[in-house]
């Protein structure tokens, strides 16, 4: 068991535990905070996969922006205590069991995957030499330019949508 594998093991266990913690918290705020810790661990994992840019994005955007947004909304809707108690739906054991089956099956299927398409030309050394961000930028703005523009459109739509939905309509109560 090399150091590398040990760290991975820790990360894996941490991520799984944190995820469980996230979905079991009674108070949504605690859940969001645990989520934050989870995101940090995921960022570290990305580092191992030498995707530094992704790790940064994860922390800044995902944890920084989206979770903060969640916090704002949770604060906005001061959920009453009674809401807090009954966390789970009536038939929660059924849900857990079914999902367990789903996960099990997926694992069986995914373990079978052994076919490897030809390796791309971005070997690890090359990425290290140029720097992750440089490579992403070159690839992003050449082959994936169109998706990039569409992504910007999606965000624009999201902004307008959020404003329209959340705005207080005059008189419509």
């Amino acid at each position: 068991m090399t150091a590398h594998q040990l760290i991975f093991a820790y990360l894996a266990i941490a991520i799984t535990g944190l995820s469980v913690m996230v979905i079991t918290r009674r108070n949504p705020v605690h859940a969001v905070l645990w989520m934050l810790v989870l995101f940090v661990h995921i960022a570290i994992l990305y580092l191992f996969l030498n995707a530094e840019f992704l790790a940064a994005i994860q922390i800044i955007i995902y944890a920084g922006a989206i979770l903060v947004l969640f916090l704002f909304v949770i604060m906005l809707l001061d959920v009453k205590d009674v809401e807090m108690e009954r966390r789970f739906l009536g038939l929660w054991p059924a849900g857990v069991v079914i999902t367990a089956i789903l996960t099990l099956l997926s694992v069986i299927v995914l373990r079978e995957i052994d076919v490897f398409p030809p390796l791309g030309q971005f070997s690890i050394e090359r990425i290290r030499s140029e720097g992750n961000i440089m490579t992403i930028g070159r690839v992003l703005y050449t082959r994936h330019l169109l998706p990039f523009e569409i992504a910007s459109l999606i965000l624009l739509v999201a902004i307008i949508g959020a404003v329209v939905l959340a705005k207080k309509r005059k008189g419509v109560e």
């Binding site: 594998q5 991520i15 989870l38 955007i61 373990r111 390796l119 965000l155 999201a158 959020a162």
Partner: protein, 100 residues
């Protein structure tokens, strides 16, 4: 060297947890969080594949997933606010106007 299958295993487990969260939680916001969780698990597997297959497409996809997640979170939460204004509680059961 950590083999690729472990990463896949990890992402599947996290995805499973996300699904459980989505199914059994009553609070809409917690459902949203579970969705975020599911998305992150997908990101993990994408990143892993990008690393092992030495191609940047994986990372680009993760990048786009995050943007979409952001948009989705914004819209979702806006809907929750609109719902909340309509009826104080935001548990999934009350929101069943779509009942057939």
């Amino acid at each position: 060297m950590v083999p690729l299958s472990w990463y896949i295993l990890l992402s599947t487990v996290v995805f499973g947890i996300g699904v459980i969260g989505f199914i059994i939680r009553r609070n809409l916001i917690m459902i949203f969080l579970s969705i975020e969780l599911m998305l992150n698990s997908v990101n993990i597997s994408l990143a892993a594949f990008s690393h092992y297959l030495q191609s940047m497409t994986g990372q680009i996809l993760v990048f786009f997933v995050i943007t979409v997640a952001a948009a989705e979170a914004a819209i979702g939460l806006a809907i929750i606010i609109a719902l909340y204004r309509h009826k104080p509680s935001i548990t999934a059961e009350e929101v069943n106007l779509l009942k057939g």
